[in-house]
């Protein structure tokens, strides 16, 4: 009796299994990379209505973060400054600059400037700025070296895994409290950072929440 199935069918099952494994692997790898915040968020650099240059204001002029982001030490939310804050200086300095037209318009009409949001935590996440900056986590740890950015971009992934990395090992990112707003501060070495960080964890009783309720309520 002749073979019902031709010879090549002997390998069909194995080939199919290998093909499925390859496709699955490709899909999984694709999704893990292209759907993570590392891909979707990091590098997001929208054009703002006013070309505000952090590298000029912070980097060159040496302004403190808290001059504009006034609520950061008290509130969950680090506020974007009111038009009034810009006008403190720009009613005198560069008062006629074309780049500031939007700001002047806002000041005259009372309509606020609509800045494009870069960092957005989901609605079910309750992040608090105050508790981080008051306990030795620098702005730079989450927002990157803003003092060198001409246009602000999304620097870190700010995914939940990224949050937990630090909440599990806070020593990697703790620094002396007087260096929190110093964007350029770095420990002498990685080992120095860990050593000092461990010391802070102990001395300051740092115990970042790792349970869900820490951020989700």
């Amino acid at each position: 009796m002749a073979n019902i199935f031709p010879r090549w069918t002997n390998w069909l099952a194995i080939k199919a299994v290998i093909a499925v494994i390859c496709i699955k692997a490709a899909v999984i790898l694709g999704v893990t990379y292209y759907c993570t915040p590392k891909y979707t968020r990091v590098g997001y650099m929208p054009t703002q209505p006013v070309p505000f240059d952090h590298s000029l204001h912070v980097g060159q002029l040496g302004m403190d973060c808290r001059y504009c982001h006034t609520g950061v030490e008290q509130s969950s939310h680090s506020n974007v400054p009111a038009t009034q804050t810009c006008m403190n200086c720009h009613s005198q300095v560069k008062a006629g600059s074309a780049k500031l037209a939007e700001v002047r318009k806002s000041w005259e009409t009372g309509n606020p400037v609509s800045w494009v949001r870069i960092h957005k935590s989901p609605d079910y996440v309750y992040f608090n700025h105050a508790v981080h900056v008051n306990r030795g986590v620098s702005c730079a740890s989450c927002h990157g070296k803003v003092n060198e950015m001409r246009v602000v971009w999304h620097d870190q992934s700010q995914s939940m895994g990224w949050c937990l990395d630090c909440h599990r090992n806070p020593e990697k990112n703790l620094r002396p409290l007087n260096e929190v707003y110093n964007m350029d501060w770095e420990a002498d070495s990685y080992h120095a950072q860990i050593k000092q960080g461990m010391q802070f964890v102990k001395e300051w009783n740092v115990n970042p929440p790792q349970n869900c309720a820490g951020c989700h309520r």
Partner: protein, 1120 residues
Amino acid sequence: MNKANETISNTTEVTESMSSSNGGMRYWRGLEEYTQTSEFKERLKDEFPAGAHEFWGDDTSRRSFLKLMGASLALAGLGLNSCRRPEAYIVPFTETPEWMVSGKSIRYATAMPSRAGAQALLVSSFEGRPIKIDGNYLHPWAGSATDTFAQASLLDLYDPYRLKEFSKSGQKISSEDFNKEIKGIRDATTGSKVAVLADVVHSPSRDRLRDELLNTMPGLTWAEYDPLISEFHAEAMELAFGKGVKMTPVYEQAKLVYSIDHDFLGTDLGGPGAVRGFSKTRKVEKAGDKMSRLYVVENRFTVTGGMSDHRLRLPFSQVPAYVLKLAQSLKALGITSTSIDSALSTNGKVKLPENVSLSWIKESAKDLMANKGKSLLLIGAMQPVATQLLVFAINEALGNFGKTFKFTKAPEYKPAGIKDVVGKASKGQLDTLIIIGGNPVYNAPVDLNFSEVLKKVKNVVRLGLHDDETTAAASLVAPAAHYLESWGDAIARDGSYLNIQPLILPLYDGITQIDLLGQFLGQEAAEMPMSMQVVKDTFLARQSAPPADEFEKEEIWESFVHHGFIKETQDELLGVFNSTTVSNYSIQNPLKNIELEEGKFEVVITGSYSADDGRYIDNAWMQEAADPVTKLTWDNAVLMSPKTAKKLDVFCKMNWEVKGIQTSELVTIKANDYEVTGPVLIAPGHAEDSITVNLGYGRTRTGMVGRDAGFDAYKIRTSDSPGVVTGAVIHKTGKRKQLAVTQEHHNMEGRAIIRESPLAYFKKHPDFVKHLGVESHSPVKIESFYEPPELTAEQQWGMSIDLNICTGCTACIVACQSENNIPVVGREQVMHGREMHWLRIDRYFSGDDVSEPEMLNQPVSCQHCENAPCETVCPVNATVHSEDGLNVMVYNRCIGTRYCANNCPYKVRRFNFFDYNQRELDKIYNPPFSELWGVSSPRGTPETIKMSKNPNVTVRMRGVMEKCTYCIQRIQENKIEAKVKARNSNDVKIPTDKFQTACQQVCASDAISFGDILDKKSEVYRRKHFSHDYSVLGYLNVRPRTTYLAKFRNINDEMPGADKLGQSSVSQIHHHGDDHGSYGDGHGSHGDGHGKNGHGDYSKDKKHHGEKGHEVNHATGGHH
């Protein structure tokens, strides 16, 4: 068997068991449970009543749901547009307001006016919108507590159905035009043709404008009307004490409170201050502690009756006879008073209903005599003047005045009543009527025929918050500003002077009462809002020594606005009792002894715990907060005792039409040519031949929420007898109605859940709670099958609820709703047991006699079990334990299997069956997929309702489980605050009792305490170490973090039937004594075991925690 036969057999079942003892069944919540009908037993098997697994109100079944879901998923796959990150904007201020820190709320002191006097409040404002109302903790009267209505008034502010436009004869006009119209009316009329009909708000500024108005327009009629304020009481007060005297009971001072038809803990003008004062005398901490005693005589169960130690059911109309009998008994015991004598002289023999035993009256009178100067005899304000005077006379003779009653000055001006306005209008003597607040077209006495009379008045000017019946009848209408939008002032119930400041600009350009009166006076608005200027002037004028310096004036005004009140040196009056006047009055007006005719009934008309006088009918939070006693939501009913229902052959029962839903017969009440039809609700503990109906429902012109809610009991209420209608006839109509009663939802099946004892028993057996229920037999700390959570945090949260002082008022439920963004679900969904309240109050009846049960309340929310059964069954880890002992719910993980709710022994988990934030805008409930059927209108949440949400709590969507979080947002906020404060120090602990949960904060009786159970200084630690602390269902070894303190009754042993009161728990101890040897012998060792292993050993556990936390836990478990 056909339906009718079935019904009859069932009622026989109910009525037969009324007389007989029902064996082991000691606590019951509804009649079905009491009789253990087969339907009830059947229902217990289900988590939810009728068809919760099926959609309802349409033909959608689970199968068709899946089909549709499949289709919509396939469609969703076609376009992946939603994957793109949308561009969002940050819109900062142009100029930041002072004090504003973006992301933080600010609290402002203000006050809510009400008929009994205002409540001092602190309102949280988040970025300009008020989001939560709390009591002003600085104010001595009620502290941080408020009543239920104050909590819910936030929703009134944001009600999308508020009156929004100025209008003339139904045509929209501008506010300037309105102002012109007002001026026109004023110029065209004389004072004698003008009347003002105002609500009662106790505002000195309004009073000042009233006086100015009366000066500039002589002959003007100023009338005030509130349907729940009694003219009888005012008359009795004036006769007894003269004009301008206010009498306030001092509950803190009373060792004995004897309340006759006076619900001071509930609706009758007592308010949170009364509850607070009373509960101070009822706190029991250890065996041997004393507490005050409460006698209550009333026709229906009220909140006060539920708290009573001795309660007597008495029809409303028999109260005068009862008071006479009480006076006779007191006289026999040697009390001397001319006014009592003269009252007794005019009355011969009095006859009381059969259930009233003379020894009850005699023994309670003896108790009154034993507490001279330390007792309070209270009488319902709707009782006849002569009765109230006799009660005053008894109090006087007992020496209570000046001791337990204090007297303060009240305004002497006596406004006219609604009768005077109607009298003038019907004679055509009025051409202008200004109706400020209230809703007289709806709630005026029916015999005045108010809406007809109104047609004879040319100009009817209306200032109202809602588009209601009165607004519809007015010719010139202005929207009123909510109190959270107004400048104003008010006198609090304790006599202090409160400021009302706006938290937000009027949402709909509303104007205040002061604005309107100012306009009518022709005052021009200065730069600041006129009402603020008026209040400031009033405030400065009230100062005994007003500063001359402008700067100082500003300073005291600002401090007044900041604190919200000033304590004025109220001249305390002596309160001279005018016994001659009282004697003369009682001789001229002898107390009437009304005998109830056979076949006729008295109908008692009271305010509602949910809708008040009708003003909260449009408030969804109030509608869904069940009546504390009947547990009825979204409706009112005709309440009657089981025996009266049998006599009338009417029914209200479960499973009649739909499984698990109460269906009741509609009856018509006919009296004095008036009639009203409503559903029957059988109320255990109700007096025989007496019927109770609640006011406030059956409004004809309301917003979406109040539509079709209940029936209008005002239709039988007359001006002569606002409290009761006697000689009413009840007819069956043959129609039925389904009611949303929550009393048998979330049943925990009669285990030893609620525990009580007489106070004297507790003295002898301080640890009696440990000998109740299955845990008296079970090993105490057995090892858990599952790995216990690591409780490593420095602070461990827990709660203790004192059942002895909880009145069951439901303020906590509404406060929780406001704090935690809990949606309302509507009448239909409540019927299915899908109410979303995180906190419920179980109301239990106890005792063997269904006619005369005792009542107890037990608030139940998530117990935060350490070995939580919900956590072990969740397939996706959506409910987990935190290291500080919270059972946390992670919404974004939840996929809605509902296994956790099934496995929860306390039945405290709530599931979002629908997206309650995406319902059709004009409906409270709409069937699922109605948009597919093509019957849909736009969906979403009205913008204003969105403004009421707490930004620190997630708004949940369809398909997720939710439950009490112990107000985790407040815990986190305080943790963060402590850490922010700590900076580079190691002290990150939240200070002892630094913050409160929402339910704890609002509780006037201080029944709830919350805090760190490891902190020996904390109140919750103290309470959890009382000997009467117990866990509900402790034998399950779930180790709940919420524990309860047992309930006590301070029984007077001489009273008839005293041996049966408060016995329902402890009698079970004797039972088990019979089975297992006597109490204290065989079980003594058990007791010790419990003592060692209750919550008290937390601190011990804690020492071992840390890295080795749960090994030690295992070890301690292993011991037993």
